[in-house]
């Protein structure tokens, strides 16, 4: 089990009802973290449309998360 801090943005934050939470999860990759949060809070958004960062660096969904990491979940963007 790993202790992971998850930060939610925009729609994801609204779904979760919190901007940030620290969870104890049995996960390997960033994609696993995303799946866990979907089970927890719901979302039909596929990972392919979303982006993820680990400890303030953009990452692939296949990136391995380590105990103590902060994972940022970004729904589809629309700047400008």
């Amino acid at each position: 089990m790993k202790t992971i801090t998850v930060r939610y943005f925009a729609m994801f934050r609204e779904h979760a009802g919190v901007a940030e939470e620290t969870l104890t999860l049995d996960v390997g990759t960033a994609a696993d973290v995303f799946e866990c949060t979907k089970e927890r809070h719901g979302s039909a958004e596929p990972a392919g449309h979303c982006k993820v960062a680990i400890n303030d660096e953009m990452a692939d969904w296949s990136a391995v998360v380590s105990d103590g990491d902060t994972v940022l979940l970004f729904p589809p963007v629309a700047g400008g």
Partner: protein
Amino acid sequence: MLSMTTAAIDPDALRKKLFDAAAGGYCAFEGWVRNENDGHTVLRLEYEAYEPLAIIEGDKIFAEAKREFPFLHALCVHRTGMLEIGDCAVWVGVASPHRDEAFRACRYIIDELKVRLPIWKKEHYADGHSGWVNCERCAQHGRAGSPT
């Protein structure tokens, strides 16, 4: 260089920062909050950004644009928070010796910025509903699961 602000954007002040005696062409783009999207009457737009990564990604976009379309100076300011109709949400300006690079770099910067920066916008509609732009599936879910 990209920066974020919650205050009103001042295009004229930004434009003056790009002045250069070697510049013959200047191109600017502004994104304004408009009163309609996809058939819905929009009352206002709410922008949220994750600034630390927006700045980093913005720097990458500027470097790519400069490599591809060599310009002298470029700036971009993106506003966040609650914006009203007619407000300037984003401003991009580029100065270069000739106009072609100015137009192309300006277009490249705004195009990339819209799809790569961690910035989200929520439309507030006349019918009382609101929705996150570009987030159709999670918006569908949102409608089914929670009345946001």
